[in-house]
Symmetry: C2
Subunit: 237 residues, 2 copies
């Protein structure tokens, strides 16, 4: 038995999950229909539906209208990482945060940048480049492009107090996006700005976020490999 099921919905959830983990229900096999579970548990159909819909949303089941409910193929678990804000990271660890601005400007977007943002020719763009420091020690290098349409006040932000991340979160809360995580060798610039040893590995996170159809921001964060790890959980939320 897995959960302490106090509700009828919880009972059904637990029943299904137990039968999967115990092997009684194989991947891709069909589970009883809502009507059958209704009779089995003596509950209304809405209750059964709610339990199964929840499990489907969590990726445990796959439901097909007109066909039935099936155990999802495992093999592609979901790993969740909290998207990080270097400024918050430092503060959460109790460090004395400060930022060293390298670039903060409005300029013409390059072809590649216009492509990322889906902008027309001669579009303008905001560009921030900065080093985040904890107690004077560099912990991350941020290189960020911002869409002026979405965050018109970006250049006026006082980055010593509010981070770019926080400001953009208020302009465009709950964005969608994509990201790439990779290990790279530190460039000469990285070595200088992050005070690294030459050739030291860095963890790079490249992230593009958008809301509706407007790309909000594109950012590359580079962390010293020796001092930074990305932690997360594997879950069915």
């Amino acid at each position: 038995m897995s959960d302490i099921a106090t509700t009828r919905k919880g009972e059904i959830r637990a029943w299904v999950l137990d039968r999967i983990t115990s092997g009684a229900l194989e991947p891709s096999s069909r589970i009883p229909s809502e009507h059958q579970l209704m009779a089995l548990f003596g509950v209304s159909r809405m209750t059964v539906h709610s339990a199964l819909a929840e499990l489907a949303k969590e990726g445990v089941l796959r439901r097909v209208k007109g066909l039935g409910t099936f155990v999802a193929r495992p093999g592609s678990h979901l790993t969740v990482v909290h998207v990080t804000d270097p400024a918050e990271d430092v503060r959460a660890r109790g460090g004395a945060y400060n930022i060293e601005l390298i670039t903060l400007e409005e300029r013409d977007a390059t072809d590649a940048e216009r492509h990322i943002f889906g902008m027309a020719q001669h579009a303008r763009i905001y560009h921030l480049k900065a080093v985040h420091k904890s107690g004077g020690v560099a912990v991350a290098l941020e290189d960020r492009l911002v869409n002026p349409t979405v965050a018109p006040d970006f250049l006026k932000v006082d980055f010593t107090g509010a981070s770019a991340f926080a400001h953009l979160s208020s302009c465009a809360p709950f964005p969608e996006g994509g990201h790439v995580i990779r290990a790279v060798q530190a460039s000469a610039t990285d070595v200088k700005l992050l005070s690294l040893k030459p050739g030291e590995p860095c963890l790079e996170i490249e992230r593009t976020t958008w809301i509706e159809t407007s790309v909000v921001t594109h950012v590359k964060l580079r962390y010293p490999g020796s001092a930074y790890e990305l932690k997360g959980a594997i879950s069915r939320p």
Copy 2:
């Protein structure tokens, strides 16, 4: 307007999301109660509840019994990565997959390993170390510990056909777990086994999964930084 809302639930979702993204609803502010939205949209309470519960599960809203429904604080987006199986990765890319076993044994667990697995003294453990190859080229180094209690047949698996990941997925589907992603410098062993240039950065993924209270497996995967990226999406699922 954000979604093409064809259902009443979708209408309510879209209404709430629009009012958040447009700034009409600030973070932490209260949104109308289920009864108020019921009257506003002319729908039953279950429909309103379903829409709001969904948004709460996605992290957009925070609901407190007896108090009300509030806009969640943004600032901690969720990034989702698909947990990867090197064997599946290679096959998905159309490469000719093969595996080179380095170690596959049952042995006494070390103190550190017993601590990870929560095992008693003198416990036994399975240990797999292998290089995954695509068309003869090394793409990943796997170093895996397995709990014999959960996967007693692990040593009998034919790893040329089924991957460790797939076998464990069938023993313990939908596990929970945690993981750490980091950039490391290739060790001498890595250089040899993965045919790297000395000092080349590697992406390392360390993952521990468990089901109920049993730790199932602990694995370290090491990828050449020049050839591997971890991609994912930022989302409210």
